[in-house]
């Protein structure tokens, strides 16, 4: 969970972007990286295969400024979405403070979204977390494409608990910062409760 350093007056939190293969998790991080002030970001690391599919994780450290005299840093990670990289996904979830589920809104990816959401719950539970108790946000990505599942249906299948949700287009950046801001906000509110 979060790392509060009173000595250097820093708070570090870990956000994990989860979702099925090719849903746009890495593209979310790339957009954030491109649009962020160089002073506020560290290097983006992508451990990818030769075909640019995420192999282990992507990592982007973001320093968002001070809150109550503490430097606030968010460490953004993505997991590999392809089904067979389950071991990697479990490892990346260690110490997670908040989760973004990036769904692929295209009709033909509906089953993949449901499978990935179930996989997220199972992998979190293995580590003693309950998704319902974590700061959690959903992004329906690729919503600009013509063949998308209606939002009501996506909501019913992927978001029965009504967590914050956003339509997105990670390629153009639509919904990307709204999603990040919301999960960061939920994490800080959780910190407030715990504090």
């Amino acid at each position: 969970m979060s790392f509060i350093n009173y000595a250097s007056r820093e708070i570090n939190c870990k956000i994990v972007y989860y979702g099925p293969g090719l849903c746009g998790k890495t593209t979310n991080l790339q957009h954030i990286y491109q649009m962020t002030d160089p002073d506020a970001k560290g290097k983006m690391i992508s451990l990818a295969t030769e075909t640019e599919r995420t192999l282990f994780f992507d990592f982007l450290p973001l320093a968002l400024g001070e809150i109550r005299g503490f430097k606030t840093r968010f460490h953004l990670y993505t997991v590999p979405g392809q089904v067979f990289y389950d071991a990697s996904r479990k490892l990346i979830l260690k110490g997670v403070d908040g989760v973004v589920f990036v769904a692929d809104a295209q009709e033909e990816r509906l089953d993949a979204n449901i499978e990935s959401m179930e996989n997220l719950k199972v992998n979190l539970e293995e580590q003693g977390y309950q998704l319902e108790n974590l700061p959690f946000v959903i992004q329906y990505n690729k919503y600009d494409l013509p063949n998308v599942t209606p939002i009501e249906e996506l909501r019913e299948l992927l978001n029965p608990n009504g967590v914050p949700e956003f339509k997105g287009c990670a390629v153009t950046g639509e919904g990307v910062f709204e999603t990040l801001k919301e999960v960061a906000k939920l994490i800080l509110m959780e910190l407030k409760k715990g504090g």
Binding site: I4, I67, L91, I92, Q127, G195
Partner: protein, 165 residues
Amino acid sequence: MLGPQSSFVMYDEELQRINIVIERLLREANAKVIFLVDKNGQMISGVGETEHLDTTSLASLTAGNIAATGGLAKLIGEKEFSILFHEGEKDNLHISIVAQRVILVVIFDQRSSLGLVRLRVRKASDELTTIFEDLAKKTAEIQASGGHNSPFAEITDDDIDSLFS
């Protein structure tokens, strides 16, 4: 002991004690850089020639490396591998787990040797374990007393919005 899912809190006093131990280890092991990383990938402290290093990325990748190697260990029936060693052309990495929660990384070159590093790391690990046990106790006591004056208790929506402005 600090659990894997408890918030990790560091105070001035313990950080100073940690830095004394790793600065001494740096000298005694003839190392170039030493840093401590939380298993979740957060940098705790670093000493030595750190100015040209991307320590944030190193911390994240080290934790990822430990996690992946831990996965390998489980597959062959081991709990975890407590020491990893990477040999480079010039610089080498000696990585070990301290107090089950923290990763100690020593970067050294030909001015030192694996044997010396291993020897010195063993002694420093014992000292660091004591400090982290004290830290875990202190954190538990403060949480139990409910008396910690967290700076985050008073966070407002405006504070959060200002981070994204």
